[in-house]
Symmetry: C2
Subunit: 201 residues, 2 copies
């Protein structure tokens, strides 16, 4: 996943650039990628139609740029919390909590990231494979230090991403009940990850 988009340098150009991105995020969330035209985006951003192409070769390039932005934002937000902690247990706890709070604040993230499955399946695959491979490095490190059990860490990374994503989805879309008490939710997740589900071992 590569981008050729260069962020502009002057303040005016930056403002225009950012306002195109913000309008696109808003429209992609409300109407979907396919339901949004470049004209819709420039209209919402309050810029001339031709201005769009000064910054982005196409709607797809803009979408890819936004996907990379969101992916970096998620990684940065999680890393900031995870890096404060030493143990894998605390890292997982803080990482999951940071992700839930992020998507609660910005529920459009799910829509825009998962929509890649309908825009270009390879983008979706790249997104999760790249996330998983970073996760695996951390898990391998913890396994080598004996903090986590000796399991297939690639599979474990998808298990943990699945938990985080579906719990995040529950909170972001308010599925079911009791989505306000984030600490309670994180407690249950960590309790299950720590002790497992069953009474007999």
């Amino acid at each position: 996943m590569e981008t050729l988009i260069k962020e502009p340098r002057t303040r005016n150009a930056k403002n225009t650039f950012n306002s195109i991105i913000e309008s696109a995020i808003d429209l992609f969330y409300r109407r979907g990628y396919h339901g949004t035209t470049v004209k819709d985006i420039t209209k919402e951003a309050g810029v001339a139609a031709g201005t769009f192409y000064l910054y982005f070769p196409s709607k797809l390039d803009l979408y890819k740029h936004i996907l990379i932005m969101l992916s970096h934002e998620i990684r940065r937000t999680i890393a900031a919390k995870v890096n404060e902690k030493k143990s894998r247990y605390d890292k997982e706890r803080e990482g999951i909590k940071a992700f839930i709070l992020l998507v609660k604040e910005q529920p459009y993230m799910y829509n825009i990231i998962w929509e890649s499955l309908y825009i270009d399946r390879e983008l979706f695959k790249d997104y999760y494979e790249s996330f998983a491979s970073r996760y695996v490095k951390g898990l391998n490190q913890s396994a080598s230090e004996g903090e986590i059990r000796d399991l297939d860490t690639e599979i474990v990374s998808y298990i943990l991403m699945g938990i985080t994503n579906f719990i995040g989805l529950k909170v972001a879309l308010d599925l079911g009940s009791s989505n306000d008490d984030i600490n309670h939710i994180v407690d249950v997740v960590m309790d299950l990850i720590k002790h497992g589900l069953f009474t007999k071992k």
Copy 2:
């Protein structure tokens, strides 16, 4: 989530009805819901354009019908395996395995179910809330029998759906490596669900 679609009774009508559905599934998977027109569907199905409306009031109604079909197929396939087993552990194991095998065989399922998020967000919410509420019933039963620990079963249901969905996604889209040995994958999942991730408890 309700459907008003009536399945036709005569053999000819049934064939036409099913061939419209099969063509739609194929096209929705390859081009997405928004990239597919009713005309594309009837052309692919080899039926006259007007025929579509004998069975479905609109493309959205057809989509909803397919979503319900897939949801029933997933539940039926999982239930057939789960009901053979007595313990919650065996039920989880067989349920997860059945789901993985199903989406490996029919990877279009993900695309079509998750696309509901871009067609009508309420469909997506209904889909997972309804799945979760059935899951919770089973978990509550196992908790009352003392087989699983006393945790918030609604949250547990999303944790388990998250695991199953992301492991299924890994296999269906062939993310990362070693997606051929389904038994190994299920072993790792069950090992983690049973014993937790960490060495120290």
